[in-house]
Amino acid sequence: MTIVHMKDIVKRYGNQLVLDYVDLDMVEGEILGLLGPNGAGKTTLIHALIGLIKIDAGDIQVFGTSHKGNSLDIKRQLGLVTQDISIYEDLTARENLEFFGGIYGLKGQVLKERVAETLSFVGLSEYANKLPAKFSGGMLRRLNIACALVHRPKLLIMDEPTVGIDPQSRNHILETVRELNRQGTTILYTTHYMEEVQSIASRVVIMDQGHVIAEGTIRELVERIQHEEKISLEVAEVSGELISRLKKLNGIKQVIQKGNELQIISQVGAGNLDRVLAIAREAGGVRSINAEKPTLEDVFLTLTGKRLRDGEAE
């Protein structure tokens, strides 16, 4: 069942066209990865979905109704994990959850139980009565997520929930997202990180500069660029002759040298893996060889001609 239907969404800030006729649909039960570089318009699109900003044109239906007149009904079933950590520093973790649960109408014993459950779900039970000032980056992120879970939203929107934290906390959060999805929550997961989307999303929408540039399952997207494969080759010694012999092979597009390693971009199906191996053996021995399947990162690179993000850090 379709629970989000956004059609031809246009949003301008001044002269800047931030969303340029964007479409987005979500079906119940999925984890949709929304991927795009800085300034692509991801947050703006999310805010439009929630009804936080006015759009200049387009049609938005969430849970089958539009924001006009039904905004509060829609919001009741939504959860937003904000991109920036937005919690009260002077309230304890528990009080923060009580507040954010409270504004969704929970109260009394139910609120208390939900708060305790949520704290334990994100692994913060021990810190329930501590002020966030004492929290690590990963704990803050988990609290930031927890604040959107107390009321058990049907649709959870996560705007870059793992920015700037250590890999362990990140894995914890990804596991949390999977578990929520198993329990039936539909999730819109926004990120810069390809690996995250690849590991949790069932479907991906890629945005760049206010446009949706690709959409589909990860496999579908990867198949779109299946005409290329990357062969990584580590040899005992790299010589100019080796490189020029490789370059002469049919279907080889590029040979990049990094120390003793060669990266070879080749047409798929040209049967170059065997030939590359043979040539490298002749030239003095192969230490390792690896033919990589294209990743989402490669999809993005192919579609836009640019990298999504340099390195891991923010």
Partner: protein, 228 residues
Amino acid sequence: MTVFSFVFKRFFKGVANIAFISIIPLAAIFLPLGEWHPLPGGFQYYGIIQLFLAARLSGIILEDRSNKTLLRIGAAPISHFQYLFQNTLAYSLIMLMINLLFVLGGVLVHGEVLINPGILLVLYTFFGMLAISFSLAWFSLFDNKEAAFSVLTGLAMLMAMLGGMMWPIQAMPLLLQRTALLLPTYWLAEAILRLAGGATISQLIMPIAMMLLFSIGFIFLGSRKRLF
């Protein structure tokens, strides 16, 4: 009423807030009679304290904006009106409670010198509402908490001086006396003087109506900007 109840939680967690409300009004109660004003000094100046207290109270909304929790509140099923209403109601109750304690303290300390304390409390209540709506309107203009706060402090002092809280309005040049009528502080000062001079309720209607008008105007200004 989550927003409402958390205003109390958050306000009374602030050490500076506790210090402010316990020390300043208490010290003001004990100020002696001045030279020109018929009431003890603290009761002449109390409007300034109210302006500062209102600024501290409404700072809570400003904080929601600066720590971005307003975004979450905007995503939650609570209307803009409810949010403002619950905040303002809580501020008003805190303000009212302190006004009450202040006037009670005044009666205990000054006895009969404090003319007509009941009506004085009514005047402070109206001015308290005005001070809160003024702060809200003011803060809706700013995104930076520190800047908004420090400018407001100066502005409150200026309004108090030009509005006739510190010295008789007649001591100022005619032009300033005229412009004073446009300051909300003038109407409190004027009402207090009239009250101390033995005015009847009907003579207080004009200043009270003016304070009410100012409040409505400021509330309008303050809620015009959509916070989310």
